[in-house]
Symmetry: D2
Subunit: 343 residues, 4 copies
C-alpha cells in the first residue's frame, strides 16, 4: 500500500479522487487538505462519502504531505507550483490535476494564467500525463501534469489523424460541449441551476486556457504547426464532455476505422466504437473510459470524430489514478474497474 495525499480535497475532482481511491487495493489516503475546511470531517462536506472515509480535512502542511509516496493536487491553478519543489525534495511524487505543469514554456504559462511561474525549472521535467502518448515517461516521472478535460478529449480524438499525417494540421476544429461540473465546485452565477439548466451556450470563443495546451501537444505529435479553432460550450448536464472534431483529409484513400482501431487496440481505457456509431456521454458516466467514433459524411474530405468522456474521470481524477498506477507499477486498471452508472 502506498501512501496518498490529496491537496485541495473540497472540489469535484477531489471528491472524485476519494471515491475512486476508496476502491483502490494498493493505495491508502493518508491526508486530505483544505485551508478553508480544516478540522471538518470530509464526509460532512460530501455525504456521499459517509461510511467510507473517517478523515478530517487538515491544513496543507509539508511535514504531513512529505510522508506520502504521492500527492495529488486537486487545487486551483497556481497552487501546486508553490509547494511542489519542497515535496520533490522530500522524495514525494506529484500528480497535478490543475494546469501548473502542462505548458513547457514559462512565458506562455504566464500569458495565459496571469502570474509568473514559481518553478519554471520543473516545466521541462514534468511529464504530460496522457498515458496513451507518454506511458513510458510517466512511469519514471516525478511530476505528472494531468491533462485538462477538454485537452484529453480533443487530443485523443485527433491523435491518430495527426500521427499518420492524414489531415491538414492547419484546419482543425474542435467544437466541445461540457457538463457543468467542468467549471468546478464553486459559487458562481453562470453555473447556478437556473442559469445553466435547460440552456445551452458557447463561452470563451475568443480564447480558452485549454487551447495552448492542446496546440503544444498536437504540434509535438504532428511535427508541424497546428491551426486549431476551439469552441467550448456549456451543456445542461452534470458530467460529460462531447467533443465533435472536424479535420480535412489530405487524401481520400484511407480506412479511418482501421487507423483508430490499430492506434488504440491495446489501450485499456479507449473504446473505438463500430462504424456509424454515435457515442453518448451517458455511457461513460463515472467510468474511466474515452469512447469515440469516426465518420466521413458523404464520403467527402471532412472527417468528423465524435468523442465522449466523463470530465471528472478520464478527464481528471480517473486519469490521475491511471497515471499513479503507471508510476507505481500497479495494474493500470486498479481502482478504475467499476462501470458507468447508466441511466
Amino acid at each position: 500500500m502506498i501512501r496518498v495525499g490529496v491537496v485541495g480535497g473540497t472540489g469535484y475532482t477531489g471528491v472524485e479522487l476519494l471515491r475512486l481511491l476508496h476502491g483502490h487495493g494498493q493505495a491508502g489516503v493518508e491526508a486530505v487538505t483544505s485551508r478553508s475546511e480544516a478540522g471538518r470531517p470530509v464526509s460532512e462536506l460530501f455525504p456521499s462519502l459517509r461510511g467510507r472515509f473517517d478523515l478530517h480535512y487538515i491544513e496543507p502542511a509539508i511535514d504531513v504531505l512529505s510522508g506520502c509516496d504521492v500527492v495529488f493536487f486537486a487545487t486551483p491553478n497556481g497552487t501546486a507550483m508553490e509547494i511542489a519543489p519542497d515535496l520533490l525534495a522530500a522524495g514525494v511524487r506529484i500528480i497535478d490535476l490543475a494546469a501548473d505543469f502542462r505548458l513547457r514554456d514559462a512565458g506562455l504559462w504566464e500569458t495565459w494564467y496571469g502570474v509568473p511561474h514559481r518553478c519554471p525549472e520543473l516545466l521541462q521535467e514534468a511529464v504530460y500525463g496522457l498515458p496513451e502518448v507518454n506511458r513510458a515517461r510517466i512511469r519514471e516521472a516525478r511530476v505528472v501534469a494531468n491533462p485538462g478535460c477538454y485537452p484529453t478529449a480533443v487530443q485523443l480524438g485527433l491523435l491518430p489523424l495527426l500521427e499518420g499525417g492524414l489531415v491538414d494540421p492547419g484546419r482543425l476544429i474542435a467544437d466541445a460541449k461540457s457538463g457543468v461540473s467542468g467549471a468546478g465546485r464553486k459559487e458562481s452565477f453562470t453555473t447556478q441551476y437556473c442559469e445553466a439548466g435547460d440552456a445551452f451556450k458557447a463561452y470563451g470563443v475568443t480564447g480558452h486556457r485549454h487551447l495552448p495546451e492542446i496546440v503544444q501537444e498536437l504540434e509535438s505529435v504532428s511535427g508541424s504547426k497546428v491551426g486549431l479553432t476551439f469552441v467550448p460550450h456549456l451543456a445542461p448536464m452534470i458530467r460529460g464532455i462531447h467533443a465533435t472534431l472536424y479535420a480535412e483529409l489530405l487524401s481520400g484513400d484511407v480506412d479511418l476505422q482501421k487507423v483508430y482501431e490499430e492506434r488504440y487496440g491495446d489501450e485499456p481505457f479507449i473504446d473505438v466504437m463500430p462504424p456509424g456509431s454515435h457515442p453518448n456521454t451517458a455511457s461513460v458516466r463515472g467510468e474511466n473510459v474515452l469512447r469515440l467514433a469516426c465518420h466521413r459524411p458523404g464520403n467527402g474530405k471532412t472527417v468528423v470524430v465524435l468523442v465522449v468522456e466523463d470530465n471528472l474521470v478520464k478527464g481528471a481524477s480517473g486519469q490521475a489514478i491511471q497515471n499513479m498506477n503507471i508510476m507505481f507499477g500497479f495494474d493500470e486498471r486498479e481502482g478504475l474497474a467499476s462501470g458507468a452508472v447508466c441511466p
Copy 2:
C-alpha cells in the same frame, strides 16, 4: 379576423401554434384536427391550454378546412401534400410546418423522404418561408414551406457571409445542438427522460434530412456550389437550438459586426448581439427571436457564428405565424410580442 385551421394539432408545434394564436388579435382558430384524438377536448390533451380554447379535435375534413382563410399543417412529413391541392382549389392558403414543400426538386425530395411527392407541380410555386430572405414572395404565396428548425438557424447565421461573398462556400461547418422537443411529441426510446437526460450525443452524422434544404437555399443566395458539413446533436433541454457555424474568410479585411448589423438591422425578429457576446438558448425560450453573435478567434481566417433560437418558435410555429402575418398584411409582430420566459 381571419379563420385559421390547424391540421395535426397534437404535436409540440401544434400546441405551440395554439398558444401563440390565442394571443393573436386578427386570427381565430376555427378547427383543430387529429385523426387519433377526434372528439377529445384540446385542453384535455394539453392542460396548459385549459381555459383558453373550447375546441375539440375533429377529423381532418376538407369541407371544414375549406372554410378557413389559412390552414397550418403541423403534421408529419408527407401529410400536407395529400390535401394541399384540394385546399388551394377552395381558395385556402397553406403554411406547412413539415417538409413537403421545402425542396424544389421532386426527385431529391423522394430521395430524402422515401416516397414519391404527390403534387410536384406545387414545388416550384411554393415559397420557402424565411421572411428575412423571401418576404415579398411570401406576401403573395398560396403555399408557404415553413423552414425546419435547424435550417432557420444555420441559414440566418451564414447568410450575410455568403451574400457578401466573404467566405469559402465549399468549407462550411454547422455544428448544431437541439433540445429534445425538436424530435416531436412521440413515444420513442431516444427521447425518454432517462435516455436523453444528463446526456449528450450527436446523431445522423451520415446524413440528416435538413441538409438538402439548407444547401438548396444557401446555394441560391451564394450563387455557387456549397460544401456543408452538418452535424446535429441532442442536448438535454426541452427547447432551444444552438448552432455553432464555422466558415473560412476569403479576405481578412472585413468588419463582420457591421456586416451582420446592416443585414439584419431592420429585421423585427433577429437580434445581432454586441461583439464578444455568447447568446444563450435560455434567452429565447418561448419567444420568436433569433439571437446571434459573430467571432473571429485570434483574428484569424476562421469565422465562428453563434446562433440561438427556440426550435418551436422562430424554428417552427412562431415563424409560421410570422409568415401568416406577412401573407395577410398584418403587423409582422402581431401575436408574437410576448417575451422569453427566463429563467
Copy 3:
C-alpha cells in the same frame, strides 16, 4: 398609463415583473433600481429583455420613485420597510414581494427575520395580497404584502376546506416541492447546477419562514388554532411549486369537488381540475394560474389536495401585477393573458 417603479430589479422576481409589465397596456415602467448594477442597461444583465426595455438601472432614489404611482419591491426581506414610509408620504402605493408586511405581529416578524421591524405601525394597515381572499381590501390598500410562493399554494389549496369547517385544523400537512428559482438569483452552493441537478432533498424541516405567514392567514379564515406541518423540498426544475396537502375530514359526507368549484368558480386565475386529475407544474410554466385537484384515496377520511403554480408568477410577480390591477381598477387579467410555455 400609470407610472411604475421596480426596486431591486436584478433578481428573478424582478426580471419576471419586467417581462410581464412589458405586455401591460396601462402601466409603464419608469425606473428600475439596483445599487450594485446602477448605470448598467437592464438588458445587459438579462439578454431575454433585449429589444424590450431601454432602461438602465438607477440608484434607488426617493425623488425618482416618488414620481411613480406604484412601486414594486422585488428586494430581499428588510428592504421595503426602510423606505416605505417615505414613499407612502409621497402618495405612492406599494406592493412588496418580500416578507416585510406579511405578518401583522412585529414581534413575530422579528423572531423569524432576525431584526426589529422598522415601521411596525404599517403592519396593521398593510393588506395581505391574496386576491381570492382580500380582493376588496386590496382595492383600497396603500401597502400590499404580496404572499410568498409556498403560502400562495398552501393557502389556496386549503382555504375551501377550512372556510367550510370541513377538516381538523390541528392536523394539516403541507408537503411542498419547489423549483430552484424559488431560492432567488444568487450565488450559493445549494443552488448550483451540480448540487441541485438530478437531485432531490427536503430543507428547513425544523422551521421555514413561510410557516408563520401561512398559519396567520389560515387561522384568520378558520377562526381556530391551526396545527400545520410544513415540509419544503428542492426539486430539480427551474420554475414551479407542487404542494401536496393532507387534511383529515371531520365528516365523510361532503362533495369536495363541488366545494372547490363553488369557491373558485369566479376566480380568473384558479383552475379546479376534474376529479381524478393530477396537475403538472409544467402546465403553468410562465402563466399566472394556480391549478388544483382534490382526491380522497380509498374514500377515506384523508383529503389530498394537489396544487401547482409557477412560483415566479402566481407565486410572486404575476400575483403582484394582479394586485396592481385590482388596486388601480384595471381588468384583473391585463398583462397576464399569455399562456403557459409548455413543453
Copy 4:
C-alpha cells in the same frame, strides 16, 4: 463462483444488475435472456457495458436457466410466476425483482395485478426480501420477492416507529418522489424528456400497486391495522427516491435519534444521519445505501422521516444482489462496495 441467470435483461433493473454483477467476485453471469432482443449483443443495447460483457441475449429457455444457481427476474409483473415452478424443480433459487411474490394473498394479488396468480402455492413460501427484517429467512429461501422501490424506502423509514409502538398506525402518510427510471425502460408519453423534464406531478393518488405490499408488511411488524395514505410523485431526475414520511407520536417522551440508530446500527446499507440532517438523493446515486434522518418540527407530535435511496440499487438491483449474497453465504457487501457517483 456461482452461476447467475438474468431473465429480462433489457430494462433498467436488468442493466443495473449486470453493472453490479460485473464487479462481484463470486458470481458469474451465465445467461441474459430477452425474447425481443435474442441474438443481439448485450453491449449493443447498453454501450455502457461495452468491454465488460461478451454476452448475447438468448431466448428464455428453461434448460439453460436450469444450469444456474440463481436466476434474477428483471421482468414485467406476471413473468416470473410462469416459470418459477420449473426452475425451483430444477433446484434453481429465484430472486424476483417484480411483484409476483410480494403479496401473500393470491386474491389481493389478482385485485391489484388484474390476472390470476399462476402459482399461489408459492406465495406462502416466498420470503419478502427486505434484509433488515427477514435476513434469517432470506438465507434459506428458495424464492425471494425483492421489494419495490417505494416499499423499501417507506418501510425502512417507518419500521422503527411501528416496531416500537411509538406512533398511531392508523395515521401514516408517505409522500414519495421518484426519479423517472422508476417507471422502467419503455416508450411512453409521460416519461418522455419533454413531458417529465422541468416538471413535477403526483400520480396514482387513487391507488398505486405498491400500497398493498407496504401495508401487508407494516401490519406484520406493527401487529395492528395500518392506515396509510401513499402519494407517489414523478420528479425530473433519472435516479432516486425521496420519501417524506409523517406519523403521529403516541407519546412525546422519546429519543427518536436513538431509536433509529439502535435499530439500524449494525445494518451495512442503512445510514442514519445526524439530527437536523436533510438527506439528498444525489448522495446515493449508484450506491446500495438507504440514508435517512428524522425530525420533529417544533418538538410537536408529528414525526417527519426523510428517506433517500437509489430506486435502481437499494430500491431494486442492489438489494437483489444483497439478497443473493445472504442466500449464498457471501459477504453481504460483495459487489456492492463502490460509492455513490456524486455530483
